[in-house]
């Protein structure tokens, strides 16, 4: 009746696991109680959960990312603490639990922090940057969100019911096969990946069509803002690369559920196929995470230097070259696995090539700063921190691209990819969050705690990962739950201290958010354009009305909003307003997400009747939307006019301001 699910699935095996489960359960109950107490369920349902407004979907994506960031960071903190004390002892975590933690940390950070964060930024910004009123497929957008949330919920519930995978975030066979990992952990991983992976695929298709089809009249490809360019390239990579992840996870699932032999040791299986499939997605994924951050940096650097981006075309080409190259370097993730010398040589040459377009991008940002009127706002601080730290990370990458060096699979690798993904991706998302927060909510984030947050992050990042480089040179392997080399411990204690600094960074950013909400009246941006922005998203009100643009703008150059301000046409009111047609809200997306959760949970525990019910529920949710052709409503010109009249227009710039 309940498949493999028994009372033993509850985490009575360890006090710490029990604690994690209780925190999760009480956290959820607390939120439910709070919403009930505030009487906000109806508001939440009608205004948010069922909304197809791309801005609201974006905000929900970022909210999901921030919640999961906290969970993923708690995992990181637990690992650092274990390694700081586990010299010649068991530390405080049993090996099995430690393995779950490093698996869930990486799975969460990649799939449920970075992905929703960048997709959330796309949602809030890209349609407005290209002068569009919506994404191409608003309902599919909601489906993507709720599939991602469903995958995240699956990882979270593994804290309470059963155990998560101990096979690492890449789930290498044969260890991840049923023979060596008979529990449900790897199944949780597989289904979380599949459910959220399908959501990401849909996002990729949606934004590709949006950017290709919905640009404002006159916005040729080479006039698109850089963030939109990176969004375009990222979504191309999503559409190309995620099929490989889906195939890898699905085939592993077939091995586990039906005893097939894709990646088993014997009977004709071959684990190298898994590695290729996984990293064929995994390497482009690195750029799926980093390119959007490059887009944010490009916008931030131009805005806060008060000048046009240096070398626009070269940055576009650099982005495109990175996109292409990222598809042909995947093998450098497993140089040591026994591919032939020629194969290793090809990928060993291809990998460092990516440094070339990346360097072009770095120089473009530096030259934009050069002789600019640089304002050291919080987004700018994150950008500058990125430039410095990322160059170091890039150079260690060139070191790792040398196939014969004996550092692969040491903790040097851990330091390297954190050095790319924290400054290269997360700092970018945080900069974007600070930069576009007033766009989404109509008030700025206050500066003081933002600065403190930045300094805690950058100092903590250096302290946490510089020692790991040294430990890598000393030969410390990754993923050790204990060790017997006394010389390693001082470095691990420094790394622990760095993690505490990052904890402070997270707390400071939380304080910043709370203080900004408290002082929102003082921080309000009545003009809608707090940073003297350059691109079209600042032409709409902040927060924007549902339709974004009362009149679709015509674009004649790069930085169209800046040009309008220069020409003095920014504040012009159209002669008359027109009716606008916008999509209706739909509850089918959130229902589909919930049903996918039921389905995946049932598949993990092999409760077949429940899986069938969940599958039928998903089918019904899709069916309810499939034949609805007129799921939209008309906003009358008079309503548009009333909304626009409430808005204060941005003052035109003084002539002679630097361009």
């Amino acid at each position: 009746m309940l498949g493999k699910l028994t009372i033993d699935a509850l985490p009575f095996y360890s006090v710490i696991a029990m604690g994690g489960a209780l925190i999760t359960v009480f956290g959820v109950l607390g939120v439910v109680a709070l919403i009930t107490w505030l009487g906000q369920w109806r508001y939440l349902w009608t205004e948010w959960l069922t909304s197809l407004d791309h801005k609201k979907i974006g905000i929900m994506y970022v909210t999901l990312a921030l919640i999961m960031l906290v969970r993923g960071f708690i995992d990181a903190m637990m690992m650092r603490t274990q390694q700081a004390i586990a010299l010649g002892s068991h530390g405080y975590l049993p090996p099995d639990h430690f393995d779950q933690i490093f698996t869930s940390h990486a799975t969460i950070m990649v799939f449920f922090v970075a992905m929703p964060f960048l997709v959330g930024l796309f949602n809030v910004v890209v349609p407005q940057q290209i002068g569009a009123r919506d994404v191409a497929f608003p309902f599919m957008n909601s489906v993507s969100l709720w599939l991602t949330a469903s995958g995240a919920a699956l990882v979270m519930i593994s804290l309470v019911i059963g155990k998560f995978s101990t096979a690492g975030w890449s789930a290498y066979p044969p260890y991840s096969e049923a023979q060596f990992s008979p529990g449900v952990g790897v199944d949780y991983w597989i289904w979380a990946i599949l459910v959220s992976g399908v959501g990401s695929m849909l996002t990729g298709i949606n934004f590709l069509v949006t950017i290709v089809k919905r640009r404002a009249p006159g916005m040729r490809l080479m006039l698109m803002p850089l963030f939109t360019w990176t969004a375009l390239c990222t979504n191309i990579l999503i559409v190309f690369a995620f099929p490989a992840l889906i195939v890898a996870a699905a085939l592993l699932g077939l091995d586990r559920y039906f005893g097939m032999h894709f990646f088993t040791n014997g009977d004709g299986g071959n684990i190298m196929n898994y590695l290729s499939l996984f990293w064929m997605w995994g390497h482009p994924e690195v750029y799926i995470l980093i390119l959007p951050a490059f887009g944010v940096y490009s916008e931030v650097v131009a805005t806060f230097s008060g000048r046009r981006l240096f070398g626009y075309a070269s940055l576009v080409y650099a982005t495109a070259v990175i996109t292409v190259l990222s598809l042909i370097v995947w093998l450098h993730h497993f140089f040591t696995m026994g591919a032939s010398t020629d194969v290793n040589a090809f990928f060993g040459r291809a990998a460092p090539l990516i440094a070339v377009p990346t360097a072009v991008a770095i120089f473009d940002w530096l030259f934009t700063l050069y002789r600019g009127r640089v304002q050291f706002s919080v987004p700018m601080l994150f950008t500058l921190g990125f430039i410095v730290a990322f160059v170091i990370g890039g150079m260690t990458g060139v070191l790792l691209a040398v196939a014969p060096v004996d550092m692969h699979n040491t903790i040097f690798l851990v330091a390297h990819f954190h050095n790319l993904l924290i400054p290269g991706a997360l700092f970018g998302y945080l900069a974007g969050y600070q930069y576009w927060f007033p766009k989404a909510f109509g008030f700025r984030l206050e500066e003081k705690w933002g600065r403190r947050g930045f300094w805690a992050w950058i100092v903590g990042f250096c302290l946490a990962f510089a020692p790991l480089y040294i430990l890598g040179f000393m030969g410390m392997p990754q993923r050790l739950d204990r060790y017997y080399v006394a010389g390693w411990q001082p470095y691990l204690i420094v790394a622990e201290f760095g993690a505490i600094c990052i904890l402070c960074g997270i707390i400071f950013l939380a304080i910043q958010l709370a203080a900004s909400i408290r002082d929102r009246a003082a921080l309000a941006v009545s003009s809608g354009d707090p940073w003297n922005g350059r691109t079209l998203e600042w032409a709409t009100a902040s927060p924007p009305p549902a339709y974004n643009f009362a009149v679709v703008p015509h674009v004649h150059g790069i930085d169209p909003w800046w040009a309008m301000k220069q020409a003095g046409t920014a504040g012009h009111r159209p002669a008359r307003f027109h009716d606008i047609i916008m999509p209706d809200d739909s509850s089918a997306g959130v229902v589909l997400g919930a049903m996918s959760f039921v389905f995946a949970f049932a598949m993990v525990w092999q409760i077949w009747w429940l899986a069938a019910a969940g599958g039928l529920g998903m089918f019904a949710a899709v069916l309810s939307q499939t034949f609805r052709d007129h799921a939209e409503h008309r906003i009358l010109a008079s309503e548009v006019e009333a909304i626009e009249n409430r808005r204060t227009m941005a003052p035109a710039l003084t002539p002679g301001a630097p361009t």
């Binding site: 099929p243 889906i246 195939v247 085939l251 032999h261 004649h556 008359r576």
Partner: protein
């Protein structure tokens, strides 16, 4: 310096404009979806090719595949591609019942194809050559089965769309759905031709 202005040269958005744009965008999105699906098939093909000799002392293609069976399957699917083409011609001519008739014929041909594939799978499993016997068989069942699952989804789609054609007639939305169904179906036929060439032919010849 470039100039940019907000010009108000547009009229009220009409439902027809919105519909036209939606149909155009859905066609574009569907092409992109097909491309990603093509990558999924390409990876399954690659997996099959590299494991095609990993038979683990179990029977290989030479003993398992029967040419007449596969040839008949191929003919059914090719014929269904043609009949779906006739359905599109009827749709373009706004002939509702002819569209329905050809959709029905396509459905029957597709159903015949899936039934033959299920029979083949069943026969192999009974003969002790199920998907868990060797890497080769795992890859075979997964590649061919994924294609079969796609065709089955197509069959469900044909039924639903047939109901819609019968109930609502051939409005532009329905016609656009028939167009995308056509894309999907012809894509699956192309994939099958590749399966026939890469999977079955080397085993038969």
């Amino acid at each position: 310096m470039t100039d940019a202005v907000i010009t108000a040269g547009h009229n009220d958005e009409t439902e027809a404009q919105v519909a036209e744009r939606a149909i155009d965008e859905k066609a574009c999105g569907f092409w992109i979806y097909l491309m990603s699906d093509a990558i999924i098939f390409a990876l399954l093909f690659a997996t099959f090719v590299v494991t095609s000799h990993n038979t683990a002392d179990e029977p290989g293609g030479h003993t398992l595949f029967r040419f007449p069976h596969t040839f008949a399957e191929t003919m059914l699917l090719l014929a269904s591609s043609a009949t779906l083409g006739f359905a599109s011609v009827a749709t373009a001519a706004r002939q509702r019942w002819r569209t329905l008739t050809w959709l029905g014929v396509t459905f029957l041909l597709g159903l015949g194809f899936v039934a033959m594939e299920v029979l083949e799978f069943y026969g192999m499993a009974v003969a002790g050559a199920g998907p868990s016997r060797s890497g080769f068989l795992s890859a075979f069942f997964t590649l061919v089965g994924t294609h079969g699952a796609h065709v089955s989804v197509g069959l469900v789609w044909i039924v639903l769309l047939g109901c819609e054609v019968g109930l609502r007639g051939l409005n532009p939305f329905v016609a656009s759905r028939l167009y995308r169904l056509g894309l999907f179906w012809h894509f699956l036929v192309i994939v099958w031709i590749s399966i026939f060439s890469v999977v079955y032919l080397p085993g038969i010849l």
